[in-house]
């Protein structure tokens, strides 16, 4: 059974400009004492076709882990638009939050992200080079996709 149980994830700035940083408020419980920190990462999916366009926006170690419920705000800079294929900047993509312990990923929560120009004319005639200042990023907060993976929490035999 997972030693860490993520009980809530909230997106704090939504919708917002494409250039703004991502801010997630994460609440979790630590059910057994852990020796190491857990590592959270925010990954922006640049292209749904190719994983090489995934950008790790930031990663953070969370600790020290006390037994009980904890909360923190994870802020990461917005994606680098130059690393995203031009035709995939606008439209639906995804942002993923992952949590790992001792390099083993045990929790993954993904959200669909919709990038749209605020001005309708730009949506009708998409500019060849995207204009990030005018793109609004909206995270579909109420439909997260959560995956949990069982991992080895302790190296010793006893639980």
């Amino acid at each position: 059974m997972a030693a860490i149980n993520v009980t809530n994830v909230r997106v704090l700035n939504n919708p917002t400009s494409f250039l703004e940083s991502f801010r997630f408020e994460i609440t979790f419980e630590c059910l057994t004492p852990l020796q190491e920190d857990i590592e959270w990462k925010i990954i922006y999916v640049g292209s749904s076709n190719d994983a090489k366009y995934d950008q790790v926006l930031d990663s953070a170690l969370i600790g020290p882990l006390q037994y009980g419920a904890m909360r923190f705000i994870f802020e990461a800079p917005g994606p680098d638009i130059s690393k995203i294929p031009v035709d995939e900047v606008v439209g639906i993509t995804a942002v993923i939050l992952t949590c790992s312990y001792k390099d083993q990923e045990f929790y993954r929560i993904g959200y669909y992200v919709n990038n749209q120009y605020t001005e309708p004319e730009l949506m009708e005639n998409l500019p060849s080079t995207p204009i990030p200042e005018k793109i609004q990023r909206s995270i579909l907060e109420d439909r997260p996709r959560i995956s949990k993976f069982p991992i080895e929490w302790t190296s010793s035999k006893t639980n």
């Binding site: 059974m1 809530n8 609440t27 057994t32 419920a69 909360r71 705000i73």
Partner: protein, 743 residues
């Protein structure tokens, strides 16, 4: 009878998530379902009965990583276990409100790891001590949940293929496991060895791993999915538990039988041709043909409900009153069958136990049902406002955020396999005032209660609140009135009320599961007492029976007008009558040792020590010991002020009005308290504690520079206790005071 399919019971968003298991809580407050999407839902049982009930889904639990194949409540009703394809079994307990959206907070408190593959079936032993699990890895594992062990207690090998079902018999004597290899293996629960293998056909062609079996509550039969009768009729076999051979078959399902569940009660069935009523059991059988049939012992035709679902019936569960059957299916829905009297009148528990007693001369073991201490629907914690979180940059360039700590742990303590767990038994605490915590250092702490270690269960069973001593001890409507005799706790003296012709009650001595002797009485047992030499019983009709520990009546029955408390220790028996008179008898010598009155002390409890000295606790919390030479009650413990903290020896008055800023008077107060304690220790005869206290006292006097008292104590020690005198002199020498005292 009516049937309903409540639309509020479903898993997942689309309502088609197969529900693989369902179980009703023994107290009938909740029921649980396990589904293929790895979630378990806890539901409000009242929602099935009361249409106005609003809070229906109490919790959704998603800690498993695979379909949840089986969910089963522990007979003690406080916890449940779930087994899943992720090889794990999780034991769940309810906790105080958390931060999730659930109405109730259920936390997985242990994970039982041991199976190498999907866990298919779970079954608790009747007392809730063991949990048996069967898995696709061909093994049956027994877990010692009560002992809080996370690893397998026993691994039973024997099946050559998947184990699809496990079941304990009503007496916890046997464990039965059903395997895909068409074997039914019967295991002995004492040494977990195979007793018999029943090879008869479970000869289905398809490998349908969904198969559950059940013992009938009278332990006479085992009903399990059976072989095919002909091309289109399938049956369930009813085996006789004496030789595990098929007694009869229930035929009728159009596809293989998947689940058998037995009602926990017996029914009084009236025969049309006879005027007699017989007691029969009932089972519900579910099949792949999505039909549920309910059969009684001697039915030739069942009550059959067809096409209840669009898929196979995956699990069935009976309510403890035998009136409701819940069935779940792979089509994601749950059906409720409400029975009125179609099966007959439900037999009361007392009658059922008399019936069992007649058949087997014993009654099945029961768990200690722990009533929920908290309200069923706990409040959620309000999310706290965010405080500062701290962030630093580590040397390797990584960010490290220290999260904001929100709440003290809401779940049980960190999983520590070394923690010993004591199930909560509501005990009248008068006999066991714990003055030192289990982790107390070797400092001797005063345990006034060395007088008696016995847990007086009869009082709890008579009264619902542990501290409510009613004026007349109520006649026991419950089955058991029992008393622990040995301090190791396994020898118990029990009494049972029977409703038979000439015999009104029985008492027996039981060691663990083995009955040592049993005696039948004409009168109804009211109070029990026992020690390692004898057992005494006081009956409603005013007689006292004494038996030797071997079970033979030692003395003719004695007429005693009234008895409010009766306690014993060693050879002594103490009785406190309703007229406030206390008598202590030495049963070996057949003598009355003490006769006195307890007039104005309102007695809350009584205990006798090995030397026959009685100690009473008053309702105001004070303890008195009877001093024979002075024929008076001596107070050995005050109420209210706890002079000594439970962990050790810091004589500090805990009452605030005694604490003064004046250090001197503070010291004086402490010293006088130690003196009182010394006196009590001396009187009670606790030598070790007394020496320790004396030394402490001397040190205190030295600090206070109280020369007079030092002289006094050393003089008295010189004449009474040479050894202690030597030790005290050494202390005084080290402080250079010996000269001043000129001893």
């Amino acid at each position: 009878m009516w049937i309903e399919k409540p639309e509020w019971i479903y898993h997942g968003e689309k309502r088609h998530m197969p529900i693989l298991s369902i179980d009703i809580q023994p107290l009938m407050e909740r029921f649980i379902t396990g589904a293929m999407d790895s979630t378990i839902c806890v539901w409000n049982f009242k929602g099935l009965i009361d249409t106005e009930e609003k809070e229906l889904k109490l919790a959704t639990l998603s800690q498993h990583c695979g379909p949840v194949n089986c969910v089963r409540w522990n007979p003690n009703t406080q916890t449940f276990a779930s087994g899943s394809d992720d090889k794990l079994i999780i034991i769940w307990e309810q906790k105080e409100g958390g931060l999730s959206d659930n109405l109730e907070e259920w936390r997985g408190v242990f994970t039982l790891q041991g199976h190498l593959s999907d866990v298919k079936d779970l079954n608790w032993s009747k007392t809730g001590k063991y949990l048996a699990s069967g898995s696709i890895d061909n093994k049956v594992i027994i877990w010692n949940v009560e002992g809080r062990q996370f690893y397998p207690y026993q691994i039973l090998s024997g099946h050559e293929s998947y184990v699809s079902a496990v079941a304990f018999d009503p007496f916890d004597k046997y464990l039965v496991s059903l395997g895909e290899d068409k074997k039914l293996i019967i295991w002995n629960t004492k040494d977990w060895k195979q007793i018999k293998i029943y090879d008869q056909a479970l000869s289905h062609n398809a490998s349908q791993v969904l198969k559950r079996l059940a013992f009938t509550p009278d332990a006479r039969n085992l009903v399990l999915p059976g072989p095919k009768k002909s091309n289109y009729k399938y049956m369930a076999s009813v085996l006789n538990t004496e030789n595990f051979e098929a007694e009869k078959y229930f035929i009728g399902h159009l596809q293989p039988v998947s689940v058998v569940a037995a009602s926990p009660v017996l029914y009084k069935v009236e025969k049309t041709d006879k005027s007699e009523k017989t007691l029969q059991w009932a089972v519900a059988i579910g099949g792949f043909d999505s039909t549920i049939s309910i059969w009684r012992n001697e039915d030739t035709k069942p009550i059959a409900i067809r096409d209840l679902f669009s898929c196979a019936v995956s699990d069935l569960s009976w309510s403890t009153d035998g009136k409701i059957v819940l069935g779940c299916s792979n089509d994601g829905s749950v059906a409720v069958i409400y029975l009125a009297n179609e099966l007959g009148d439900v037999v009361s528990q007392r009658e059922m136990h008399s019936f069992m007693f007649e058949l087997y001369s014993e009654i099945p073991p029961e768990p200690v049902i722990q009533h929920t201490l908290r309200k069923p629907f706990a409040k959620k914690l309000e999310p706290q406002p965010m405080n500062e979180q701290k962030e630093i940059r580590l040397q390797n360039g990584k960010r490290r955020i220290q999260p904001v700590f929100l709440s003290t742990p809401t779940s049980s303590g960190p999983q520590n396999p070394n923690q010993t767990y004591k199930p909560y038994i509501p005990v009248s605490t008068s006999n066991i005032t714990i003055m030192s915590s289990p982790n107390a250092p070797s400092l001797p702490s005063v345990d006034i209660n060395k007088f008696s270690f016995k847990v007086n269960l009869s009082r709890i069973l008579c009264n619902s609140e542990p501290h409510n001593y009613s004026e007349s001890i109520c006649p026991v409507n419950l089955l058991h009135v029992s008393k622990l005799i040995s301090t190791s706790g396994d020898i118990v003296l029990e009494a049972m009320i029977l409703e038979m012709n000439h015999v009104r009650s029985a008492i027996r001595l039981r060691k663990g599961n083995k009955q040592l002797w049993i005696n039948y009485l004409q009168h109804t047992v009211q109070i029990l007492a026992g020690s390692q030499y004898f057992a005494a019983v006081y009956t409603e009709e005013g007689y006292l029976y004494c038996y030797t520990i071997g079970g033979i009546q030692a003395l003719p029955e004695m007429k005693i007008t009234s008895c409010k408390f009766m306690e014993s220790s060693g050879h002594y028996l103490g009785i406190l009558s309703k007229e406030h008179a206390l008598y202590v008898y030495n049963l070996e010598e057949r003598k009355e040792v003490i006769r006195c009155k307890t007039d104005d002390i309102e007695v809350k409890s009584l205990s006798i020590n090995e030397e026959g000295v009685p100690k009473i606790e008053s309702k105001t919390g004070e303890f008195f010991v009877f001093d024979q030479s002075m024929s008076l009650w001596m107070r050995i413990k005050n109420s209210g002020l706890e002079y000594y903290k439970a962990d050790g020896w810091n004589p500090q008055p805990l009452s605030t009005d005694l604490v003064t800023s004046d250090l001197d008077s503070y010291m004086q107060i402490s010293i006088s308290q130690v003196e009182t304690q010394l006196l009590r220790l001396k009187f009670l005869g606790y030598k070790e504690e007394y020496s320790y206290t004396v030394k402490k006292y001397v040190n205190m006097l030295i600090d206070a520079h109280d020369v007079y008292k030092l002289i006094d104590i050393t003089q008295s020690l010189k004449s009474t206790n040479k050894v202690l005198f030597e030790e005290v002199s050494k202390i005084l020498e080290s402080h250079d005071i010996l000269n001043k005292l000129m001893i």
